[in-house]
């Protein structure tokens, strides 16, 4: 089947002599940058256009709701970890930063739990795919706390219990219903 390609000729606006010479245009550009430079250097703080947010002094209140921060592991009603070690997060993780070793739980209704759950924050690219992949609302990145710089690499490995200590209660059921966010509402 022959394909028809429609070509719409575009009328180019011819440049004037001064536009071709660039000089006035460069001057206009310079005027913009110099105006910004002057305003952001010499005027008072509140009149500046600076949009940089200085964390952590400025806090995180202006962050969007879906901002991704440090990981945390959510808890069941009885305080145990919600994670069932299904490895969906470690499978989807593009940085291969999640290491899980599953264990057999004493409670047959739980059956499988993460005996080891370590996130290598050095490798983590904070993409949030682990949260999306989690079928159990067990891992969240809603702490609002940035990934911290550190002096010692060993502190970058966040173990299960550490992430559980940041975790909160989740009663989410299938389809994400009842997944309330009662803590870390910043």
């Amino acid at each position: 089947m022959a394909r028809t390609i429609n070509v719409v000729p575009q009328e180019r606006v011819p440049k004037t002599f001064w536009e071709k010479s660039y000089v006035p245009e460069i001057m206009r550009g310079l005027a913009v940058t110099i105006r910004q430079f002057g305003r952001n250097t010499f005027s008072r703080k509140e009149n500046r256009d600076t949009f940089t947010i200085e964390y952590p002094e400025s806090g995180t209140s202006h962050y969007p709701e879906r901002y991704r921060g440090r990981h945390r592991l959510m808890l069941r009603e009885d305080g145990q970890v919600r994670c069932v070690a299904c490895m969906c997060c470690s499978t989807i993780c593009p940085a291969n930063c999640i290491h899980i070793e599953a264990g057999e739980h004493d409670d047959p209704t739980v059956e499988k739990y993460p005996a080891v759950f370590v996130i290598d924050e050095l490798r983590c690219i904070v993409c949030g795919l682990c949260v999306e992949a989690c079928p159990c609302d067990a891992i969240r990145m809603d702490t609002g706390v940035h990934m911290q710089p550190r002096f010692d690499r060993t502190t970058a490995f966040h173990a299960r219990d550490e992430m559980m200590s940041r975790g909160g209660l989740s009663l989410a059921t299938k389809g994400g219903r009842d997944a309330v966010n009662e803590d870390y509402t910043w």
Partner: protein, 519 residues
């Protein structure tokens, strides 16, 4: 022969063929749970229902046989609606715990749900609860909730092993698979029930929760547990073998393999000899090949080749053994004392388990033209005790019952070169030169099984640490001794080897030409 039309395609099949198989010939897969090509057909899952024109109801494809002039539809709306209904019915009580379930990723129910159902559950009542972790046998765990009562495992134990431990207990939605009182699912093939289970109801204690199956890569290989050489899928993840699964080969093992063989993968990962060792110190291949060569040459020069004991391994591939033969003949020289080590004979049965627990003794026999002049491990021990050997060059660490005597004898030997994939406990300590070899998962090669079937293994992943395939080690050491072995690729060795022996070349495409019937 009957000619029938399946979805508009005319096929001619043998009388007695089931509709399901006929559809497969026509190129249509009919979904099924309870049907297994090696087992009888109870037609109880109703997943394989197909529409036959003229028949008032849909017919189970796994049970009904073809008739001349039949017009069958396997993809009609009616069939699809039926499949959807069957799946919905199964899922009434099947828990959606795929995140926990080990079968997720290779689960028939999961696959068919996405292919034919893919709707949210309309079931509002509580699901039936049963025992989740029921210890049905020493190697198998049963989950009653996940079971869809296809009875494949029951039929396997009745028809294949003939042990018949399993049965269905209770009725309706309370029905569960149970063993007969006083029995365990403890036959030698019990882990095959895990394979035949279409869902995650039966799980292997060994593999349970260890690795998600979608992370595994599968390589075609051969089990080295005994001389049967069952064909396997070697499933590995990040250069570690995680499990064996039987691979269909009607000439050897059909769909099955024994539990001992299945669990023999553990040896691939444990106790490995990682680096070349020279008198207990780690060395490089460059220095170690030179050191082994000069030490060996010194012994040969001083006491002659007859003072060297060269121990071949029936665990090695035929290519490795062929190079071992060339090495012994050229580098060590005429008169070298040949021995063969290996595991002691064990139990056997009529199905798959063979007494000789070494995968390639037949190959060694072919390569060396019979093993008449080759002593076994106890002969090696005798020779050591008699002080006839000044040097021992040993492939592999399997010594069987003679292990203690050999180990004691090796203490007095002037030179002990160990070329093995494993440390072998005391053997590594006794070795003056230790050369790390690759396991069969880490190299390509050929095994000859007890029925003289020549089978190839594929390389699943690169050799662990510094290890090399045995044939490359032989070439290194021989080269350092001034006897260059003229090979670069395994293929060249194979050409020479098959030329030298009468063994037929393995037909690598054999399985591809006749694809395994869908399980």
């Amino acid at each position: 022969m009957p000619v029938l039309t399946i979805n508009g395609t005319e096929v001619e099949v043998d009388r007695g063929t089931t509709l399901l198989k006929a559809a497969a010939v026509a190129g249509y897969e009919v979904p099924h749970f309870c049907y297994h090509p090696a087992l009888s057909s109870p037609a109880n899952c109703r997943m394989c229902l197909v529409e036959v024109e003229g028949a008032p109801k849909l017919m189970p494809g796994c049970y009904n046989q073809v008739n001349d002039g039949m017009i069958v539809h396997t993809e009609s709306d009616r069939v699809k609606r039926a499949r959807k209904a069957v799946l919905e019915f199964i899922l009434v009580n099947h828990p959606v715990d795929c995140p926990i379930c080990d079968k997720a990723g290779e689960c028939k129910l999961q696959d068919y749900y996405f292919a034919y159902d893919a709707q949210e559950s309309r079931m509002r009542a509580e699901k039936q609860h049963k025992v989740k972790v029921y210890p049905i046998g020493p190697r198998v765990v049963y989950d009653g909730e996940r079971c869809i009562l296809c009875t494949r495992c029951i039929r396997f134990c009745e028809e294949i092993t003939g042990t018949g431990e399993l049965t269905l207990a209770d009725r309706g939605d309370k029905a569960e698979v149970r063993t007969f009182p006083g029995q365990d699912l403890d036959n030698d093939y019990s882990l095959c029930t895990v394979d035949v289970c279409p869902v995650g109801a039966l799980t292997s204690r060994d593999f349970r929760f260890k690795r998600r199956v979608w992370l595994l890569t599968s390589t075609d290989s051969v089990c080295t547990g005994c001389e049967m050489g069952c064909n396997i899928h070697l499933d590995h993840f990040r250069n570690t073998t995680e499990r064996y699964r039987p691979r269909y080969n009607p000439a050897v093992n059909d769909y099955w393999m024994c539990d001992d063989g299945r669990l023999s993968y553990k040896a691939l990962n444990e106790g490995r000899l990682e680096h070349p060792m020279l008198n207990g110190a780690q060395a490089t291949w460059h220095t170690i090949a030179g050191a082994a060569a000069s030490k060996l040459a010194a012994v040969i020069e001083k006491n002659g080749a007859s003072s060297v004991g060269f121990v071949i391994s029936p665990q090695a591939t035929s290519e490795d053994l062929f190079l071992a033969k060339m090495f012994a003949e050229t580098a060590i020289g005429e008169g070298v004392r040949l021995f063969i080590n290996g595991n002691d004979p064990g139990s056997s049965d009529e199905l798959l388990i063979r007494a000789d627990k070494n995968p390639n003794r037949a190959g060694a026999r072919l390569v060396f033209g019979g093993l008449d002049g080759v002593g076994d491990a106890s002969a090696l021990a005798d020779a050591l005790e008699a002080g006839e050997l000044e040097a021992v060059y040993m492939m592999g660490t399997e010594l069987g019952a003679a292990r203690g005597r050999v180990e004691a004898g090796l203490d007095d030997v002037g030179l002990f070169v160990l070329q093995a994939a494993h440390q072998g406990g005391v053997l590594l300590d006794a070795a003056h030169v230790a050369l790390p070899a690759a396991t069969h998962a880490e190299k390509r090669g050929t095994f000859v099984n007890c029925d003289a079937v020549v089978q190839t293994v594929d390389q699943a992943y690169p050799p662990n640490a510094d290890a090399l395939p045995d044939w490359q080690i032989f070439m290194k050491v021989a080269g350092a001794m001034g006897h260059k072995l003229p090979f670069t690729f395994l293929r060249q060795i194979q050409d020479r080897m098959f030329e030298a022996s009468e063994a037929p070349e393995p037909e690598e495409t054999a399985t591809e030409e006749a694809p395994a019937p869908a399980e």
